[in-house]
């Protein structure tokens, strides 16, 4: 088997394995609660409207029996996993909706934010970091280092407040929420078809420039907030490795041969310094999901995080909490996997490191 196929197989197998460990730990958390609370994972929707309390208690007991909720951890976990895999993630009492469809419906909103953030911070971080590292201790390097330091020290939620005050309240350039109210209706019109769920893609496919521009105006602030800290981390790491690589003999040799600066940096040095930057990108991709949810709440994007905050309004809601946890970690894993494969395609050393 070629080393790439081996790598691909290993990475693909790691996803279900990690999910297995995560669900084990999660269900161990669920075991903290009594069977009467656990049974909410299986209860059919809208009972309180139709049945009396005694009838509900009776039904609960039946479900406890049917799903062996008083038996061992292994038995309960197996049954729960079975229903999870068959797509019934339970009915959330707080959201008054089935958990899985509710999550899936909001997914494109979250993915669109994550997508544009990755698209913005990866090239910016690599290029600015490499340039600064190439001319270490120059004025530009100093500027980058102070900017990067500020970006990692000031919490994103404070940056979002400042952005909102300056660019929304005062300048009206960018807007919170996902799309302006005046355009929301045109999305529900018959001739508008949702192909991907990404507003920016769908609007172009439908030939609606006004929606496209509007969507970008709404995306600007959250994407900037989300990219900033990750840009800083990536730029710092790239800077250090490029600065270290520059002093190596082969770079000096190429310089002595008369290779011009652009070729020297981008063709000779930069590709050899990628490994630490790629690791940093992967770790960022994992943590960007947390940031996506936070940014969604602050900027009023009605994505998945809107669901999860609504499900936390005081009534116990195990199906929503569990569903969100599994959903969020699966999404993170897929994002990391995707980047992992992309990176391995570009750098053979990453493949070898991981398949060892």
């Amino acid at each position: 088997m070629s080393s790439f196929a081996k790598f691909l197989l290993r990475r693909l197998l790691a996803v279900p394995l990690t999910l297995f460990i995560i669900t084990l730990v999660l269900y161990a958390g669920v075991m903290l609660t009594p069977p009467e609370a656990r049974v909410s994972l299986y209860m059919p929707p809208n009972l309180s409207a139709r049945l009396t309390e005694a009838q509900i208690a009776n039904l609960q007991e039946q479900y406890i029996q049917r799903y062996h909720l008083r038996d061992s951890f292994a038995a309960q976990y197996g049954l729960w996993m079975g229903s999870l895999l068959s797509g019934s993630w339970g009915f959330s009492p707080a959201l008054e909706e089935d958990v899985l469809p509710a999550l899936l419906r909001r997914t494109p909103v979250t993915l669109e934010l994550a997508f544009y953030s990755l698209l913005l911070f990866i090239p910016l971080g690599l290029v600015s970091g490499a340039l600064a590292g190439w001319r270490k201790n120059s004025a530009g390097d100093g500027l980058l280092r102070s900017l990067a330091f500020l970006a990692t020290s000031v919490p994103p939620f404070i940056i979002s407040i400042i952005l909102l005050v300056v660019f929304y309240i005062n300048l009206r350039w960018f807007l919170p929420e996902r799309i302006s109210d005046s355009l929301r209706f045109s999305l529900e019109a018959e001739e508008y078809r949702a192909f991907t769920g990404f507003l920016t893609f769908d609007s172009l496919l439908n030939g609606r420039w006004d929606v496209f521009v509007n969507a970008l105006q709404h995306l600007a602030m959250p994407v900037f907030t989300l990219s900033l800290a990750h840009w800083a981390t990536l730029a710092r790491i790239t800077r250090v490795s490029v600065a270290g690589e520059r002093r190596k003999d082969y770079v000096l040799a190429a310089q002595a041969r008369g290779v011009r600066k652009t070729g020297l940096l981008w063709r000779h040095t930069f590709p050899n310094t990628l490994a630490p930057s790629l690791t940093s990108i992967l770790l960022s991709a994992a943590s960007i999901m947390t940031g996506v949810f936070v940014v969604e709440i602050i900027f009023g994007f009605n994505g998945v995080s809107d669901l999860i905050t609504r499900s936390m309004r005081g009534i116990p809601d195990a199906p929503a909490a569990l569903g969100f946890s599994i959903y969020a970690s699966a999404l993170t894993l897929l994002l990391t996997l995707l980047l992992d494969i992309l990176l391995a395609l570009t750098d053979p050393r990453v493949r070898e490191e991981i398949s060892q």
């Binding site: 394995l17 990690t18 460990i21 995560i22 730990v25 999660l26 958390g29 669920v30 903290l32 609660t33 009594p34 009467e36 609370a37 330091f149 990692t152 020290s153 000031v154 919490p155 994103p156 939620f157 404070i158 407040i161 909102l164 005050v165 300056v166 309240i169 005062n170 770790l283 994992a286 943590s287 999901m289 947390t290 949810f293 936070v294 709440i297 602050i298 995080s305 999860i308 905050t309 499900s311 936390m312 005081g314 116990p316 809601d317 195990a318 929503a320 909490a321 569990l322 969100f324 946890s325 969020a328 970690s329 993170t332 894993l333 990391t336």
Partner: protein
């Protein structure tokens, strides 16, 4: 000695020490700087009628003015330092000890135990913190209600309104802030990775083999040879984590998914007043600036301290000009 001198010569290290000691001093001396008012105890001291919504500007006796509802900003800021420090140190120490032990066990045993332990650490890394906050909040809520609590709020912990004294389980759960627990559960992995790598490397080092050949037993090897050599990168990480933990806590407090972060609570209470009338930027600056600066400087201070420790403890990077 020379490395310590080099540490003290750099201005950014002095700034780090200055900031961190300022926060420690404020935390320790809070009762002297802003004495508690027996009329209105607690961090959020009320100094006027709560129905009065307009924040009042600074005046003698109220150096940083008030929040809507006439809460003394200065008092909350000073006492907030105590909570911020307690929280940051609790999370960092617990996560650091848990993760280091995890990594040491993994690194020293090796083989499949190592693989299994590190897989679990990777699984935790793939799990978004915000899902952890939501999940633990829900589980604690269910557990508390099942044990007879009447009411639970993510910002105030659980409240038993009637029905006699709380049960031991309730007491235990009420002592644990869901957010503290979550952040500990989600910040130990880097320590585990670091320590397992260190242990794997040092296990084979010549000085370890020499000590083993001289008859040192396992515990002695661990305590006098492995730990002192392996611990320094963990210390660097820990210093940075104190600030990072506070920033995460503040973020969750601000978006309403957690509690116990007074500085972020100042911002959350004043959020409608951050923007002044007719969009005037910072017309009510005392609502926004002091708390923002406190959070940012706390992060910067510990972050810089971590950078400084890194240079101090790692002779290889310190050689670099």
């Amino acid at each position: 000695m020379t490395s310590l001198r080099r540490f003290l010569v750099r201005p950014q290290n002095l700034l780090a020490l200055g900031l961190v000691s300022l926060f420690i001093f404020t935390a320790l001396a809070a009762p002297l700087i802003s004495p508690d008012d027996p009329q209105s105890p607690g961090i959020f001291r009320r100094v006027g009628r709560s129905s009065e919504r307009t924040p009042q500007p600074p005046s003698p006796g109220l150096p940083l003015g008030t929040l809507p509802g006439q809460i003394d900003v200065f008092h909350a800021l000073v006492w907030g330092a105590r909570q911020a420090l307690t929280f940051g140190l609790t999370v960092t120490l617990s996560a650091g000890i848990l993760g280091s032990l995890w990594g040491l066990i993994a690194g020293l045993t090796g083989g499949w135990v190592h693989n299994a332990l590190m897989r679990i650490a990777d699984a935790f890394l793939a799990f978004p913190v915000i899902a952890g906050v939501a999940f633990l909040n829900q589980m604690l809520l269910s557990a508390l209600i099942a044990n007879g609590a009447d009411y639970f709020s993510p910002t105030q912990g659980f409240i038993v309104e009637a029905s006699g004294p709380p049960s031991p389980l309730q007491l235990l759960l009420s002592k644990v802030e869901p957010l503290t627990l979550t952040l500990i559960l989600f910040s130990w992995m880097p320590y585990a990775r670091l320590m397992s790598a260190q242990a794997l490397r040092l296990k084979q080092a010549e000085f370890m083999q020499a000590a083993r050949a001289l008859g040192a037993d396992g515990l002695r090897l661990l305590r006098s040879h492995l730990l002192p050599n392996a611990i320094s990168p963990a210390l660097v990480l820990a210093a940075r984590d104190v600030g990072a933990a506070l920033i995460l806590q503040s973020t969750f407090q601000f978006i309403g998914l957690g509690g116990g972060a007074p500085w972020a609570a100042i911002l959350a209470q004043g959020r409608n007043w951050i923007i002044g009338p007719r969009g005037a930027l910072l017309a009510y600056w005392w609502v926004f600036l002091p708390a923002t600066l406190a959070i940012a400087l706390f992060g910067i201070g510990w972050n810089l301290l971590g950078d400084g420790l890194n240079d101090l403890l790692d002779p290889y990077t310190a050689q670099e000009p």
